[in-house]
Symmetry: D2
Subunit: 147 residues, 4 copies
């Protein structure tokens, strides 16, 4: 994992879409949660642990909590970088942490977390995150390392 | 149906949400298709023909085409009325027509259509719209009556 | 205010739109922040304190933090009630609290908060919330009253 | 321009976001208009004709019409390619054409067009598209060349 995420964060970059802005001229705050989700998707891709494989193990990861703090404003066409890392990986729960950054000037736009609970697709009850997902996310989790 | 849609259109009203606006200060054009869909949902409710019942008959209605013409600009907090009617109901295809109006000043904001193809949920192939949906939508379709 | 929000919460109701669902079959978590914003809008309407008036006083309310906990799943066509109240009103900051409920079975779908900072539209610096907004929101804030 | 868009189309690629799907398990039809807009943005970037420059000339491009035909279904995590080209460039109007393709299997997901009218930011009336935008888009427009 040291090579995969040398500074502890998985990175993905894209441009702000016009539809993501609002009448205040900036990116709507709800959009950051869509971006954080894209950060999780990229982390899964880089770990070669696609969500569809988790489903095939009979497990869903429910999002149970989300938080964001907004520190800067992103605008249409800005390039944005989403940094994602797992900060807590337990047998049934994962917490991800995010940073949204504008690389052109280094502005930290937002920080956030999401919490997820593994549940059985069969009965909806809390379930153990199956291997090799659990080990893989544990190995990737580096809560002690800053950006 | 004469009582249900006396002027040929099913109506639903709501306020423009801030998240539906964009950095031009007006409602993003893609939002109108979300509103048109809400118009279809309201039509189904008023006909007591919920989409979930159609699914239970083993049929999905695929959206195969959408069009909109934008004639006015809606802004945050505007009340908007969506008028919806079926204009063509055949055994496997339905066309809906829409008008988005701002009642406060009578502005016609947009017009549009969507085309839908009935397909079997089992094999994805075109299928006949089941009864009583077909008869009900046919009875509700009043292509000849203007607003 | 006692008559306006007898139980301390401002209420608004609407149906889940199909576009608000995701491939898990439920409402996407980011949608709740759009709904919470609609709750704030309704509170402003009921207080006769439209956001456009605040802007005309030269002040914007920046959203600086958002949180949500997800307790239940909403689905397409569900009626949803958003309950909103101001829980902390200071000269430059307001905190709103939210509950998303499905009235048909009383399910509490989500709870959340948003924090807002008043800033000058002229220079972007923190500013005092102008009267009569401050007094009005203070009078409406009833942090001690549960639902 | 021949080098910039050798086959007449400007291309941009990205992954389907989970938030872009709906309860039918596929990308919501309204999302394609957001993607088409991203295609226009990419075209502007590659032509070095950013929209902000157009605004600084006192002109807005209003979107007056949109159409899409849906031919295939995109799903979460699919890579999607949006192909964009200007098909008609007149002094006050531009028409763009789009194709949404899934490169992994070559599926044509959707085709569409958008029509735009140049208006003065000062008075909202139709206006001439300023140079060098007009010449640049005219040079890029290659309606006769297929993909």
């Amino acid at each position: 994992m040291a090579d995969l995420f040398p500074n502890g964060w998985c990175s993905t970059r894209f441009r702000v879409r016009f539809a993501e802005t609002d009448a205040a001229g900036i990116v709507h705050h709800s959009t950051y949660f869509v971006w954080f989700e894209e950060g999780r998707s990229e982390l899964s891709r880089q770990l070669s642990m696609p969500y569809s494989d988790l489903e095939s193990h009979g497990v869903d990861l429910l999002l149970t909590r989300s938080e964001a703090s907004y520190l800067g404003a992103a605008r249409y066409d800005d390039e944005v970088e989403i940094l994602t890392r797992a900060t807590s990986v337990r047998s049934r729960r994962i917490v991800f942490e995010y940073r949204a950054v504008r690389p052109s000037d280094g502005t930290l736009l937002a920080t956030g977390i999401t919490e997820h609970l593994a549940v059985s697709r069969a009965n909806g009850k809390p379930a153990r995150i199956p291997e090799p997902f659990l080990s893989c996310y544990r190995a990737a989790a580096k809560p002690e390392i800053g950006p």
